[in-house]
Amino acid sequence: MLSRSNLLKLLSAFFVFGAWEVAGRIPVSFAFPTFLESMTALSILIWDGTLFTAYGETLRPLVVGILISGFLGIGIGLFIGLNRKLDWLVSPIFVVMQTAPLAALIPLLVMAYGIGLTSKVFVVCIMAMPVIALNTGGAVRNTPASIKEMGLSFLGTRSDIVLKIVLPAASPVIFAGLRLGISAGFIGAILAELKITPTGVGDIITYSRSIADYPSMYAAIFSIIVLAVVFLNLLEKLERILFGGLNRGYASE
């Protein structure tokens, strides 16, 4: 038996994809293929392996960029959260980075680092790092004072307190920041492929647009959105499994 909410989800998907199909059949625009055409194109892309090669290409700057931003962002965030002077010095840069349209830096990055992998990794990093660093910093700063005092009173060294108290206490928020960073990283990775040089999925999109193979173009876009959404949702699930119990608050009343 389907539950009400799953039934409605199916219904809702049916409506939306149905509307897509109908709009494609009218057609609303010469550049608007039907849902079924797009899905056929998608299965062809999957079947002949094009999509997998493309993702191998697309995911490389994303993975490298996320790894770099994860390590640097969490590291910097840790220092920001622990040291008020560093906080004063470094946080404003990340605050500005988070509100500013950093995508505008891309032409500059291309001039400085060319059109290769480096530039693309850079794009992912500038998109993903601010939110990771700021979340880590905030979480570390907000570690309840009472459990830090407890650590001190039982003779914890500074590294004990950071490793055994501050980091575990901050980890749910750090993880959430990482997830938001990955979400921003996806935007960066795709932007890089569309703006810098068409490779991977960006290449499929750009190439099929140039030869007016719209079903393939829509299929590629559809696939990247599905991939990002599914991955981010899995991360959110993992987050709930890992830290679910903690949300009920620090053990104080």
């Binding site: 039982f154 009920r248 608050g249 053990a251």
Partner: protein, 258 residues
């Protein structure tokens, strides 16, 4: 009494301590001795600075001026001779009861099998057997407080600083704990500093009761119950001196409530 003798008799000495939080004057010229092997209660209105005093003795926060001696040595920071029971429990929400209780020993570098053996013993002593693998959010307020108590007991410190350790337990458990505390004071040669809001509790368990004034806090009075200390635990509450002291303390505290 000679100077040397006094040092050896007092586990903790607080001398002319002042503490300001910015503009807030929490403690003003507070002087107080805590005799070795005895239990001293701090009794005073909410916000008068009891927690502050305990934390200064623990070495967690510095006094603005004045001196604190523990076993004759000035306090410069936390030490192995003192253990703290926190008013808000200060448990690690991601750690089991067992790890929380053993955490003090963990920070002191005691190997895992040994510290867990010790922890299990104290978990049993505070009546939490069977909850070793539970997490703090699965426990009631009173049970959490007992975890904090077991953690402080397990490091075997000479001086126990207890900030309202029984405030969240129910009345029956509380009475049981008070009796246990009395045996603890008698059997172990430890010094207890005990903050409470309950006059009856203070009189019941204390060798010495220090009454603190509202902020800025000083000691207004020290009361030493003597007559009923060696009596049977059950008859204390009916003892005439016990009842007299309770009335007397209430009489002096009620002026601040009104």
């Amino acid at each position: 009494m000679s100077e040397t003798k006094q040092i050896s008799e007092n586990a903790v000495e607080v001398r002319n301590v002042f503490k300001n939080y910015g503009d807030v004057e929490a403690l003003r010229d507070l002087t107080l001795q805590f005799p070795k092997g005895q239990l001293t209660s701090l009794l005073g209105p909410s916000g008068c600075g009891k927690t502050t005093l305990l934390k200064i003795i623990a070495g967690l926060i510095p006094a603005t001026s004045g001196e604190v001696l523990v076993n004759g040595k000035p306090v410069t920071g936390p030490g192995p001779d003192r253990a703290f029971v926190f008013q808000d429990f200060a448990l690690l929400p991601w750690a089991t009861v067992l790890r929380n209780v053993a955490f003090g020993l963990e920070l002191r570098g005691v190997p895992k099998p040994q510290r867990e053996e010790i922890a299990v013993k104290y978990i049993k002593d505070v009546g939490l057997s069977g909850f070793e693998q539970s997490y703090p959010h699965e426990l009631s307020g009173g049970m959490r407080q007992r975890v904090g108590l077991a953690r402080a007991l397990s490091v075997d410190a000479q001086v126990l600083l207890m900030d309202e350790p029984f405030s969240a337990v129910d009345e029956q458990t509380r009475r049981k704990f008070q009796e246990d505390l009395l045996s603890l004071v008698q059997n172990e040669n430890k010094t207890f500093l005990f903050v409470t809001h309950s006059i009856e509790e203070a009189v019941y368990v204390s060798d010495q009761i220090a009454i603190l004034l509202p902020r800025p806090s000083r000691v207004s009075e020290i009361i030493r119950p003597t007559g009923f200390r060696n009596k049977d635990k059950d008859s204390i509450r009916r003892d005439a001196e016990y009842l007299d002291i309770v009335d007397k303390i209430w009489a002096s505290l009620r002026t601040y409530v009104e």
